[in-house]
């Protein structure tokens, strides 16, 4: 009997114990878990689990010299970059209780957002997220470790986990469309971006551990 650990939230699936609350009997082997079984804590799918004591997940020796995966198309003259710059500074301002400054940065963000050009679809976005997980995150972890930059490591740790959830959810959406999250709301953690599917946000964020009230609910309809 083996134990498999969720690489997003750390939940361990113990084959001996199963997951009775979700209809998985004790003694159910990993291979016999239904393919649509997801982590009962964070919703990650089976592909995000690693066997305990299995091969250590060595950061793939990402071709360090290789240029970052093809610079994605950018037809908006960096408007999206400017929008994110400004929205991040608005967020930084409000954390310091600087309401006026935050509002001004938000107006800049809105302007640049209106100039950004939508482009792509879930397939292309998912391809990029998967490439990030396979290459850009490992390469960035390596660079941050070499620089002993724990702040960057913190952002990468959260970002990689959130990316795993993003690719899982896009996969479900591409497969099931409107039925994918039927009967559930989506909750986005306002600190790290983790997305939870359910009827109530989790007590704490499985990725960054902020309490429930830090989640924003994205409902269906108007």
């Amino acid at each position: 009997m083996s134990v498999y650990i969720c690489s997003v939230c750390g939940y361990d699936y113990d084959e001996a114990a199963g997951d009775p609350r979700h209809g998985i009997a004790p003694g159910t082997r990993w291979e016999d878990l239904p393919e649509d079984w997801v982590c009962p804590v964070c919703g990650a799918d089976k592909s995000m689990f690693e066997r305990q004591g299995g091969v250590e997940a060595v950061p793939a020796p990402a071709p360090a010299a290789a240029p970052a995966a093809q610079a994605p198309a950018n037809n908006d003259g960096d408007a999206k970059l400017m929008a994110v710059m400004a929205s991040n500074l608005a967020r930084g301002s409000i954390k310091q209780y600087r309401e006026e400054m935050s509002g001004l940065f938000t107006r800049l963000a809105d302007f640049f957002e209106s100039r950004s050009v939508p482009e792509g679809d879930w397939q292309s976005a998912r391809g990029l997220v998967d490439a990030d997980i396979a290459g850009a995150y490992p390469a960035a972890f390596e660079a941050a470790r070499a620089a002993k930059d724990r702040g960057a490591l913190r952002a990468l740790t959260w970002g990689e986990k959130v990316s795993k959830i993003q690719t899982n959810l896009m996969g479900r959406w591409l497969k099931e469309g409107d039925a994918a999250f039927e009967g559930s709301d989506l909750f986005v953690c306002d600190a790290c971006g983790f997305i939870f599917v359910g009827n109530e946000a989790p007590e704490i964020c499985p990725v960054c551990k902020v309490p429930r009230f830090k989640f924003n609910r994205v409902g269906r309809g108007a």
Partner: protein, 160 residues
């Protein structure tokens, strides 16, 4: 330093009202009036039984310097997240059902948060930092219709 109240922790024990020498803590919107708060006073912080008040500085030390290799790696990820958000924008614009719009909105929020975090670790943690000031100095598209001229000017005043 100014005192700030975390309204989610405040249990309305009102000790801050009793101890404040200037009345800064007694306001109609739940926020402490920064213009009345005394720089060196922390009477409300010490008196509050629920730990809802803290003093925050008006000036911050500069963010720790980043190494070039780290910056490049974070930038590669950021570019990817920006492209992913553009895709979410396209999916939101084309959303034919409430479910499609819901998913696109949630994805966009999530992608934006990750992108912002990458920027914070790339030197844009503080609005007062030099990278943020340089960003304000070099804003593109200032000649375009809708550019918020007054907002940009006021920000440069606040962050000279």
């Amino acid at each position: 330093m100014i005192a700030v109240r975390n309204i989610r922790l405040c249990t309305k024990d009102c000790l801050c009202l009793y101890v404040c020498p200037t009345g800064a803590t007694n306001t109609e919107n739940g926020q402490i009036d920064a213009s009345k708060c005394l720089d060196a006073c922390r009477a409300c912080v010490d008196a509050c039984p629920s730990g809802a008040i803290s003093k925050v500085p008006m000036n911050y030390p500069p963010q720790q310097a980043k190494q070039e290799g780290t910056l490049q790696a974070l930038r590669a990820l950021l570019d990817s997240k920006l492209a992913q958000e553009r895709a979410a924008d396209a999916m939101l614009a084309q959303a034919a059902t409430p479910a499609a719009a819901q998913f696109a909105k949630a994805m966009k929020m999530s992608l934006r948060l990750v992108a912002e975090d990458l920027l914070r670790e790339s030197g844009y943690m503080l609005p007062q930092g030099q990278p943020a000031r340089d960003f304000l100095k070099n804003l593109p598209d200032q000649d375009q219709p809708g550019f918020p001229v007054d907002a940009a000017a006021r920000l440069k005043e606040l962050l000279p």
